[in-house]
């Protein structure tokens, strides 16, 4: 493989990895605090929609990005209230969030733009093709630092590993989990926003296409640690970049090549995920006392 071709794959792999990485980093915060966020997919979609709509309306992509983060936090609040305050099953409420947004966004885009399929395309120069990429990769060392070295990070991990002991030590476990889930919503939405105003110039129906779940696979494969998770995201991003380039270039038909990232996720899930160790209280609602491990 020649230099420029290799460089091309690296660059497009990094681009494809960016939305995954943002969502996966968000997922790390939630999961380390003890909350599974299956709703990443729906929150990403909410971010993609909000960013496109706000940018289209005010012609300021940065405002679009900020609005997306706010929308993601609002959506995540729904999940947080259900799973933390009411003790609902986290996987179930996350799945409900996905269904809710899968319906809400086309409904809103239909009501706003008379099209349930897409929002109007942005004008030239109103995209943010680079900033989210930089942000995503800058957040990797930052997240590692926050989790490992700050008081917030230590308490967050305590909430995920042994909420009963953390509560006994005077830590507000519920409040920490709220914060973590809200962060995950904001980051997932930023990942979605990159899809609509970074990689392309409009929101289209279901444009996340399962990336929220691939992000989930990446963070589990990366053992919920920022650096390995980033590598997993790059792996998936590269797979996607290659599968896009292979379409038409090889004898295999496009439909089959497109499946490559999904097959790889499946293989990774089978090969690595079984060995990663989740936080002890992951998925256990607070009312159960928590702390039951496998």
């Amino acid at each position: 493989m020649t230099g420029p071709v290799l460089w091309f794959f690296v660059v497009s792999g990094v681009r494809m990895a960016t939305p995954l990485l943002l969502a996966a980093l968000g997922g790390i915060y939630a999961e380390r605090s003890g909350v599974i966020n299956i709703g990443l997919e729906g929150l990403m979609l909410a971010g993609a929609f909000t960013a496109a709509v706000v940018t289209h309306a005010v012609h300021q992509p940065w405002l679009g990005l900020a609005a997306a983060a706010a929308a993601g936090m609002a959506g995540a609040l729904l999940l947080a209230v259900a799973s933390i305050r009411c003790g609902a099953d986290q996987v179930v409420s996350g799945a409900a969030i996905n269904i809710f947004f899968a319906g809400l966004l086309p409904l809103l885009s239909g009501a706003l733009f008379s099209s349930t399929g897409a929002t109007p395309p942005l004008a030239q120069g109103e995209q943010l093709p680079r900033a989210p990429v930089v942000l995503a990769f800058a957040l990797v060392p930052l997240t590692a630092y926050v989790l490992r070295r700050t008081r917030f990070g230590l308490r967050l991990r305590a909430a995920g590993e042994n909420p009963a002991a953390a509560a006994a030590a005077g830590i507000g476990v519920a409040r920490l989990r709220y914060a973590a889930v809200l962060i995950s919503g904001a980051l997932a939405a930023l990942g979605g926003a990159y899809l609509s105003i970074g990689q392309s110039s409009q929101y289209t129906r279901n444009m996340t296409a399962g990336r929220g779940f691939i992000a989930l696979a990446a963070l589990i494969g990366g053992d919920r640690r920022p650096l390995p998770t980033m590598l997993a995201c790059l792996f998936f991003g590269l797979a996607e970049a290659i599968s896009i380039q292979l379409q038409g270039a090889v004898r295999l038909p496009g439909q089959l090549v497109q499946l490559l990232p999904y097959v790889l996720t499946l293989v990774v899930a089978a090969g690595f995920i079984g060995r990663s160790r989740p936080p002890a209280a992951l998925g256990v609602p607070l009312t159960d006392g928590g702390g039951d491990s496998r």
């Binding site: 009411c86 086309p106 989930l216 899930a269 060995r275 989740p278 039951d292």
Partner: protein
């Protein structure tokens, strides 16, 4: 449930339509005779199958998001048998096609079961990936191998007449046979009864529920958890395959790409709303079938609201039910941890005090 409807009403008002009119349209178009009710039952049929599929997996402690992929594989395989078996007599082809639907769904469903039992791969991730793979494979095969020359639509050739399932309109006087409600609806009712008998009246069903309630305790009691996981996923997939009977054998008489209106995902909502019990699943499927039918009319006849309203309502309903289920549970922080494993949705089937069981009965709908 009322809260979900109220939130939906707010949303309808927010986008500029009249909530009362929209809900009236939703209900009125779903319950008229014969078209409304006929179509409601027709739309409910696949949801009974997928709801049961998700519920059986749930009872075993598994979250099967893969019903969508399982029903795609089943539909394609069923259509393939229906086309390839054109030379067979009807008495042989029909049961063969039904069997194919169940077997293909079971095979695709067993894959995440094996991946979980053998490698510990989380079924939420594997089933979703298998969804994408199933839909992609079916599209590829339909396009390259089974498409009729010159057909602009991505679909296979029609199945043989012998494999077709009769419409209820041909059997029942008073029901026009233009309504595609077919024998698959009766099969769905039978599947409800069968799932009930299997889970609550057999030793094997007890093992499945025990594994779902507490894998450790079940393993301690001598139940092979891995086998239960694989078998539960296979049964789950077979049930999802029932959708193929309704759609391929009873409605379109061919595999049509994109035939599923997200039945597998709606099945999750149906199972959750039906509290993972066959009777509840049936009721929830009827409700969602009515919403599906009504949603179509809402999309066409209201000014701003699209049929996506139905998804919004479904998401809100699941959320409401999930929150409600726990509100009545004991809230003492020092309560001994129920033997729930991380990452597996727990199903309340452990021996519990009568009050808790009573609290889990459907209420406030």
């Amino acid at each position: 449930m009322l809260a979900a409807l109220a939130a939906g009403a707010l949303l309808i008002a927010a986008v500029g339509d009249d909530p009362v009119a929209v809900y009236g349209l939703l209900l009125g178009s779903a319950l008229s005779w014969p078209d409304g009710i006929g179509y409601t039952l027709f739309y409910a049929t696949p949801l009974v199958f997928t709801g049961l599929a998700v519920a059986v997996a749930f009872r075993a402690g598994l979250f099967n998001i893969g019903a969508e992929g399982q029903l795609y594989v089943a539909a394609f395989a069923t259509a393939w048998i229906g086309v390839a078996g054109a030379g067979l007599p009807g008495w042989l082809l029909a049961p063969l096609a039904w069997l194919t639907a169940a077997a293909a769904g079971a095979a695709w469903g067993a894959v995440p079961g094996v991946l979980k039992a053998r490698f510990g791969a989380h079924e939420v991730i594997t089933t979703i990936m298998l969804n994408f793979i199933a839909v992609g494979l079916a599209a590829y095969l339909a396009e390259t191998r089974f498409r009729q020359p010159g057909d602009a639509i991505l679909e296979t050739a029609p199945i043989a007449a012998g494999a077709r399932v009769a419409r209820l309109g041909q059997l029942l006087p008073g029901l026009p046979s233009r309504i595609p409600l077919n024998l698959a609806f009766l099969a769905a009712l039978a599947a409800c009864a069968l799932v009930y008998l299997l889970l609550w009246r057999t030793r094997w069903g007890y093992e499945l529920r025990a594994t779902g309630a507490s894998p450790e305790a079940a393993a301690y009691g001598g139940i092979a958890g891995g086998r239960v996981v694989v078998a539960a996923m296979a049964i789950s997939g077979a049930l999802a395959g029932g959708v193929a009977i309704n759609d391929v054998l009873g409605y379109r008489y061919r595999y049509y790409h994109g035939f599923s209106a997200g039945y597998g995902f709606t099945g999750i909502a149906v199972a959750l709303l039906g509290r993972n019990h066959p009777a509840g699943v049936l009721l929830a499927a009827l409700l969602f079938g009515a919403m599906e039918r009504g949603g179509l009319f809402v999309g066409i006849f209201s000014d701003h609201v699209s049929r996506d309203l139905v998804l919004v309502l479904q998401g809100l309903m699941i959320l409401a039910v999930a929150m409600q289920r726990r509100r009545w549970a004991p809230t003492t922080p020092t309560m001994p941890a129920t033997p729930a494993t991380p990452e597996t949705p727990e199903t309340p089937e452990t021996p519990e005090t009568p009050e808790i069981i009573a609290a889990q009965e459907p209420s406030g709908r």
